[in-house]
Symmetry: C2
């Protein structure tokens, strides 16, 4: 597994007096690696200013021994791990991104880098927005805040998510709901601050992302979220780079 980490200048451990810094976990969308956000989002400048580390895992296991979509499609297998632990063969051997992001990666990070494990938040894009919401909802006490760009808010209620969940998890809808933000919201014990940006010209909005499902679920369960529609923006990293400053500052308000 490959990941990227950005440490702000304040964490410079060449200096003997380095200090622990808070961290933001970034979860990317389908087809991305650990590099897309690093190269395209322009987040480092704001993370440096606010003294926050950025941790960017890959979006799936990869490599020769790791099975992927037989037809080479972009929406399943490599690049499309959906941040769940697969239960169906052959996927269950490698596709355990939930456990990787929730346990293995943080354990490794806290061991090797000057990160304050008590000050961690999570955010993501598209499939990674699903991951950020879902993982934070399922792990109370771990994160300080959640944000997402164009999140896929209910994987069980769109074709990209349901096609993948069927292969990774089989046909039991109850297993699917354990990884579905709009289902999990009814049981959330700790209502963290949430900021969501969604472009109104996003080509995936109507059929896949379905922001309105999260809006109505959050109203039904009195979970107040800041969900913003941004006029004229699409699903690209240009959208992310346009609002990344807002998101870093939002999280900094709870991490610092």
């Amino acid at each position: 597994m490959t990941f990227s980490i950005f440490l702000p200048p304040i964490a410079d451990h060449k200096n003997q007096q380095f200090q622990l810094v808070p961290a933001l976990f970034w979860l990317s969308g389908m087809t991305c690696t650990d590099q897309n956000f690093v190269l395209k989002a322009g987040a480092q400048k704001y993370a440096a200013e606010k003294g926050i580390a950025l941790i960017c895992p890959d979006t799936s296991p990869r490599g020769k021994g790791v099975p992927s979509d037989p037809g080479g499609n972009w929406d399943f297998g490599h690049g499309a791990g959906f941040y769940i632990n697969a239960t169906e063969p052959p996927w269950n051997i490698n596709y355990n991104m939930y456990g990787y992001v929730v346990e293995e990666l943080p354990r490794y990070i806290f061991q090797h880098f000057p990160i304050d494990s008590d000050r961690v938040s999570i955010f993501g894009h598209s499939m990674g927005g699903h991951g950020a919401l879902m993982i934070a909802f399922k792990n109370p006490g771990v994160f300080k805040s959640i944000s997402a760009f164009a999140p896929l808010v209910s994987p069980i209620d769109c074709s990209l998510g349901s096609n993948a969940f069927k292969k990774y998890l089989g046909n039991d809808l109850n297993k699917w709901k354990q990884y579905d933000s709009c289902s999990l919201i009814s049981e959330v014990s700790e209502k963290l601050p949430v900021l969501i940006d969604q472009g109104d010209q996003d080509e995936f909005l109507e059929d896949q992302l379905k922001t309105e499902l999260l809006q109505s679920a959050s109203e039904r369960y009195s979970y107040s979220m800041n969900i913003r529609f941004q006029k004229g923006y699409d699903h690209s990293y240009f959208f992310i780079s346009s609002f990344i400053e807002d998101h870093i500052k939002f999280h900094a308000g709870f991490l610092n």
Copy 2:
């Protein structure tokens, strides 16, 4: 030839009342296409704020019919046009980036986009920093300001430049000097404002970029330039994205 253009919201020509905006020409470094700056520099946000268009040509001609380095090396041929008009066969047919950037591309841009041709500046990175300085020095009255990240200030005085110039231009040093900023500076009739940023950990600084040659040439000919060394920065686009706000604001001061 491929190029990218970013128009700020103020130039939106879906609106009937669109207005002409100033423009910045960006020249990239070796191995780059028109996309590197667009995807990695994070310039659009600041260009949008200041109402400036960004125009990004490719760094060389490309395609099947265009000859390149026979060994496929990165430092000559495709991706390494050096912004000159080649005179030696077979390069003289296609490698005319100087004429393209100075004449053909601006003519096309001013014809098809709402750009104010009287408010144009130029900047670039590495080989593109050489291009920005050299082209502005040779074309008084065209640009309002010049800036560069890690410019290759004297192609005739480094191996990357001299190897390429020998193939593109032959052995006549007088022809080389026509494209060399440190040689041209003695004849500059219009001393435009210049901002240069150079990382002091840049792996190409000592052998190729040689910022000190421009420092001494500018002193010799009393051309005052703002040449800044930035501690800890390398040659990458992370360096560019760290200071792009400064550069856009610098140019905006002369364009708006």
